[in-house]
Amino acid sequence: MTWADAAVFIAQGIVGGGIVQAFIAITKRRSELRQLDRGTDSVMVETASGVVTMLRTELESAKSENATLEAKLADQQAKLADQQRQIHLLGERISELRTDLVIAKAEIHRLQDGQEQMP
């Protein structure tokens, strides 16, 4: 037997050993490995559940923040409408005053004309 034959023999032995170990893992180590898989699954479920809870909390906080912002917006809109109404009233008032001013100026002109004709 040459060293090459010995090496191939060892290689064949390794394949045989691997197959045997695989069978041992399936038959004898099954319960340990199943417990590991169940543990991993439950950790993943817990993690997913934690993520869902966190997202729900964030959603609730975003909703309440949104409600606050909506109330603020309504308040600002009401203030804006009030200011627009005041601006409108002031515009009307300015227009009245302008009319009064025109009338007053016309009256002044009329009085000045009257004074010039009197002597």
Partner: protein, 141 residues
């Protein structure tokens, strides 16, 4: 509940690649026999192509079991897959160096390192499994 497959790939790039390599090379070995590698043809002259077919089938099955175990979270499949992959890589490493001598060193070293890596992974998973069993036993008491 399972993680998306892409997440498994992101966390296990080397394991996935080694398993895919095993499936591809093993399938070729199962189909072509010792023609898949010149080193194997030269070294397996005595036992012939039957051994190469057997190796290919074992190797490919190992890769498939490893991928199934990894991506479906089943270490009951991953461990046998790793054992078969380790044996397959070791067989290839030894036969290629035996057949080609110095010319087969690169492939031989690569395959042997992957075989050792598979054994380390088996050890790591089994250690975790034992810890979980111990914790479960402690909780049960």
């Amino acid at each position: 509940m399972a993680l998306p497959r892409r997440e498994y790939l992101r966390h296990n790039p080397f394991g996935s690649s080694a398993a895919v390599g095993a499936v591809v090379l093993g399938s070729l070995g199962a189909i072509l026999g010792d023609d898949v590698s010149e080193g194997m043809t030269l070294s397996l002259h005595a036992t012939g192509t039957v051994m190469a077919h057997l190796w290919g089938a074992t190797f490919a099955v190992g890769g498939v079991l490893k991928l199934y175990g990894l991506y479906w979270g089943r270490s009951t499949m991953e461990i046998p897959g790793l054992w078969l992959m380790s044996a397959g890589y070791a067989f290839y490493g030894i036969t290629v160096v035996t057949g080609l001598g110095i010319g087969g060193l690169a492939a031989g070293i690569l395959a042997t390192v992957l075989a050792v890596g598979c054994l380390f992974k088996v050890r790591s998973i089994m250690r975790r499994a034992r810890i979980v069993v111990r914790q479960n036993d402690a909780e049960a008491e």
